[in-house]
């Protein structure tokens, strides 16, 4: 895990965006995370607008941490994984809470990855990690740009590892990306990040 030695420990949250071709990837990531994974993970995955049930249940089969679709105004908690609900945009608001919206489609999507990434980076600034996975449109690219501008950490699924690479490739074109990793690399990265975060917590306890 040497290559991730320099990851800071200032991070407060992780946002993940994914679309076509990302389901297997996300499943593998979720099944590889430890039960006590520290940082909140907030996911926006493109999904059918009018199918409210089934998706979160499907993801929960493999995940070690229970994934929830947050309610509006719900507090964002450590050691939790959240999924943007169908037909709502999911945003982060000041005060570490979720904000839902039924606003127009963005990049033909609701939920839109850009909205999650942009609102989260506005709140968490340099303390945010953004991860963009396989997908067939450009949603998420401008959100990754915002994360980079505010000093957050940007990670994409290596376009070569993607089923459909339009999404991470668009981000790569638009902004600086800290890491371009395959699925196993992303898992390794997240484990190293968790270790780094926990080492701080340990120090504080001593």
């Amino acid at each position: 895990m040497d290559k991730f030695n320099s990851i800071g420990n200032q991070y407060k949250a992780i946002v993940i965006g994914g679309s076509a071709g990302s389901f297997q990837v996300i499943n593998k990531i979720l099944s590889s995370l430890p039960r006590d994974f520290e940082l909140p993970i907030i996911m926006c995955l493109h999904r059918l607008r009018h199918v409210r049930n089934g998706f979160v249940e499907a993801l929960n089969i493999k995940s070690n941490i229970e994934i929830k679709e947050p309610l509006d105004k719900e507090s964002i908690k450590k050691n939790s994984i959240y999924l943007a609900p169908a037909n709502y945009h999911l945003g982060v608001d000041i005060g570490n809470t979720f904000a839902l919206s039924t606003d127009d489609l963005v990049n033909n999507s609701r939920p839109s990855i850009d909205i999650l990434l942009q609102t989260a980076s506005y709140v968490y600034k340099h303390k945010l990690v953004g991860i963009l996975l396989s997908g067939a449109n450009r949603d998420g690219a401008s959100g990754m740009q915002k994360i980079a501008e505010r000093g957050g950490l940007t990670v994409i699924q290596d376009p070569k590892d993607c089923l459909i690479d339009t999404m991470p490739a668009s981000a790569l074109k638009l902004t600086t990306i800290d890491y371009s990793l395959n699925t196993d690399g992303i898992i390794e990265f997240l484990l190293a990040l968790d270790k780094s975060i926990k080492s701080v917590a340990l120090l504080k306890n001593e």
């Binding site: 009018h50 409210r52 679709e69 947050p70 309610l71 509006d72 105004k73 719900e74 609900p85 037909n87 709502y88 945003g91 982060v92 608001d93 000041i94 904000a99 839902l100 919206s101 039924t102 606003d103 127009d104 909205i115 609102t119 506005y122």
Partner: protein
């Protein structure tokens, strides 16, 4: 590209609007309010945030009404969340009508009126449209006019038809509109007794008593303090044992007077007022 809007700038804007026009956006949820302002800057091609401030400082009432229309989110569909409409058709309305000769319904934040038509169609198919008094309100006068006109984009009717079908509608939605000049003209007889009126949830008080209030995906644009205040208005506007419905991902649990309501159906966010 316009600079990122800062929270302090938003505060200056909301203060100015409050002073000049007596509208209070100070308790709107920050993330979506900021996005709406960003959208206005781009739409009206303002060179900077200060240019918008200057405009609001000098503009007339007419311009401000247009501004309000742009701020409020008016994206909606007929029979949104079909499973809710099934619950309404099979449980809530029959329950209410069993106990009452006539009932009254308030659509709070009715937007362009799709939800009102969905309600009227449901009532008509239950053969009780005549027993129901409907009041539909919104803060945006322009959108109320749209609701009154009942002319919707044909392109949206495909989704509306699908929702209606999933909501176990008795017929086909075609029965309720005619295509005219590329618009779906709704059957006005459905809403002939509906009262459309301007009402600002943020600043106004209760104006009547209801058996059922629908306020779906409206309070998500308010912060917690404002939600508390609006819930008090709803509480005051409901008879005991009558219903309040919010959006499928909204919740009252964080509101101060949540204990005066009980959850009837958590999946569809149906609440009942159980305490005065």
């Amino acid at each position: 590209m316009i600079q990122e809007i800062e929270i302090t700038q938003l505060r200056t804007l909301t203060e100015l609007i409050k002073t000049r026009f007596n509208y209070d956006f100070g308790n709107y949820a920050m993330s979506s309010f900021k996005r709406r302002i960003q959208r206005i800057l781009e739409l009206y091609k303002f060179s900077s945030f200060d240019a918008l401030l200057e405009k609001i400082n000098t503009c007339d009432k007419k311009y401000f009404q247009d501004f309000i229309s742009e701020i409020t989110v008016n994206v909606t569909e007929m029979f949104r969340d079909p499973s809710f409409w099934v619950e309404l058709r099979e449980n809530i309305l029959p329950n209410l009508l069993m106990d009452n000769q006539t009932i009254s319904i308030w659509h709070a934040g009715c937007s362009s009126g799709e939800e009102v038509y969905s309600m009227a169609i449901t009532l008509k198919e239950l053969d009780c449209l005549e027993k129901v008094r409907i009041v539909a309100t919104d803060v945006d006068m322009a959108i109320l006019q749209k609701a009154r006109e009942g002319a919707y984009s044909i392109k949206n009717m495909e989704l509306n038809a699908k929702n209606y079908e999933r909501a176990k509608g008795a017929f086909s939605i075609d029965k309720y509109y005619k295509e005219q000049n590329g618009k779906a003209m709704m059957d006005k007889s459905l809403v002939k007794d509906v009262i459309y009126r301007e009402h600002n949830l943020v600043s106004e008080v209760s104006f009547g008593k209801f058996d059922l209030i629908l306020c779906r995906n409206v309070m998500i644009y308010f912060n917690q303090a404002l939600q508390n205040q609006v819930l008090k208005v709803f509480h005051e506007s409901l008879f005991k044992n009558s219903y309040l419905i919010v959006g499928s991902k909204e919740s009252l649990i964080w509101c101060e007077i949540a204990n005066k309501f009980t959850v009837v159906n958590n999946e569809e966010k149906v609440y009942k007022k159980t305490k005065e």
